[in-house]
């Protein structure tokens, strides 16, 4: 039976690792998540022209302000729920969870405020370029294309570093697992090692 399980798992793992280039982006360049929620997050096409970039920043601004307010509102609710829950609960575990609610709530308010007031790097880049009236449309587009190329290169390097890091984590956990007695701890270490091997494969494509 173990051989069958191994064969089935290997087949699935192999199939999954062969898919990234197809599943990564669907139809109009968006992932399934982005398409379902009607958002853009990591599209490099926005650096192809000044107009595309301007449009993308406008969308991101709208999304940042919407998300920012959502996080501030939900964070406030978490803090209120935390206080209310602690007042009515006597169970120590429940009280612990309500304390976590409050911590998450405060962090969510901070995160929301950051999205609302600061935003991402593209917002900063857009403001900097827009504030240069002497730059022609052509120069801006050339600058953006160069920026996009450098960013792609940086992301590629990031993926290599991530692949190596996950590979090392995998090796360490699998080695530690071999030194353990059979049981839940050994299984957990093999699991962590296994998923890190798969993560290494994913980042390698």
């Amino acid at each position: 039976m173990k051989n069958r399980i191994f064969a089935l798992l290997s087949l699935l793992i192999f199939s999954a690792s062969a898919w990234p280039s197809v599943t990564d982006k669907t139809r109009d360049g968006r992932t399934s998540y982005e398409e379902f929620h009607d958002v853009f997050t990591g599209d490099m096409q926005k650096y192809s022209s000044w107009h595309a970039f301007e449009l993308s920043v406008q969308k991101e601004n709208f999304r940042d302000s919407n998300d920012g307010l959502s996080y501030i509102l939900s964070g406030s609710l978490a803090v209120i729920a935390g206080f209310a829950g602690q007042g009515v609960s006597s169970d120590p575990l429940e009280k612990g969870v309500y304390t976590l609610f409050q911590s998450i709530g405060i962090a969510a308010i901070g995160y929301g405020s950051y999205s609302l007031m600061v935003g991402n790097d593209d917002k900063l880049l857009y403001s900097a370029l827009e504030g240069q009236p002497n730059m022609s449309l052509h120069e801006r587009t050339e600058f953006l294309r160069n920026y996009g190329r450098l960013k792609r290169e940086r992301e590629r390097k990031e993926r290599i570093v991530k692949a190596i890091t996950h590979g090392m984590i995998a090796a360490l956990n699998i080695y530690t697992a071999t030194q353990q007695k059979p049981g839940p701890v050994q299984n957990a270490l093999y699991f962590i090692g296994g998923v890190n091997v798969l993560a290494t494969i994913s980042y390698s494509f």
Binding site: S32, L93, L100, N187
Partner: protein, 358 residues
Amino acid sequence: MQRGFASAVVFICFVFVAFSPSSFAQSDLSFSRNARTFETQQGSLITKALAFACLSLTVVPDGLPCNPAFTPFEKEPHFDFEGLISNGYPTMEKMRLLLSGNLNQDLVQALFGGDPVLQIEGNAELDFHSRYFNARYTPASVKFFSVVRNEANPLIDVYAVDEQNFEFQSGYEFLPGLFAGAQVRAVDRKYVRKQVFLLDLATDEGRAQLQPQRQSAVYFEPGVSYVFNLPWKPRISAMIVNLGIQNGNFSDMNEPIEGQYSIGINPELPWGDLSILLDYRSMNYQESSYTERLRLGMMYHLGAMYLGGGVDNNGVSGGLFFSLQQLNAGILYSTTRVPWQSSDFFTQTVYVEAGWRL
């Protein structure tokens, strides 16, 4: 927008008909079970809140998607540790003694001589999510429920389960809107599931009825979903579960092959994201009629907050879950008391969950 509204009206009418009081048969076991803990099911806090109506939920924030077809919906790779526990956790040690096979008169008295209802569910899991595959390892998942009925000659209905499992899932968008995937689920559990008279437990032979059994299985479970390119994102999903190889004693606690179906919509709201889901799936082999298999769940997501609610023939549940980057926590209340069934016997359970993301 009009088409989205029309599909929602049809959906809501269907829900009203399906969940009308007359459609439910009164079950004489309604007071001898837990609304959201089932012997062979492992669910996250969110899926429990939704009454397990999650086959059309694209992303489950505190666990693996119920339907492997939705694997490509994962936003970015992450590794999670999640722990869930219900009220009644002081019972955990007694339950472990029962499952160790060392049942003596003192333990019988401790388990069944006090409260008529004892319950506990707890699990700790390691989850890995990515756009290409998900995996989960659960080193410990325990469930226990016992009820003592009939004071004259007490009858005990009990189950105790200690399980380890591993799940691996992958999915792919084959055509625009058409997602398909599969999961492999390996389980290994020690369990007791019996109805015995308390008087019988006075003898060694009687106590032998509660000797733990062992079962292990490997299941291959394919799932599919189609997301219509319409407002409100209507989607239909189907899945086949428990298709695989079983080993050990499955006579007391069976896991038959089953086809499960689901529909879901996400009405457009100015703020947040609302998912309304209706599933046809059973949580244990005792749910024989079609109305017992209907489950309705709703989840509202706003920023860091997930507010979930669900109703089915087993009861109602409502939970609140907050998640921001590394940290998440949630609380859920469930009860077997439903508005359309008047009964003096009911159970209620509080679950808490906390997790850490790497």
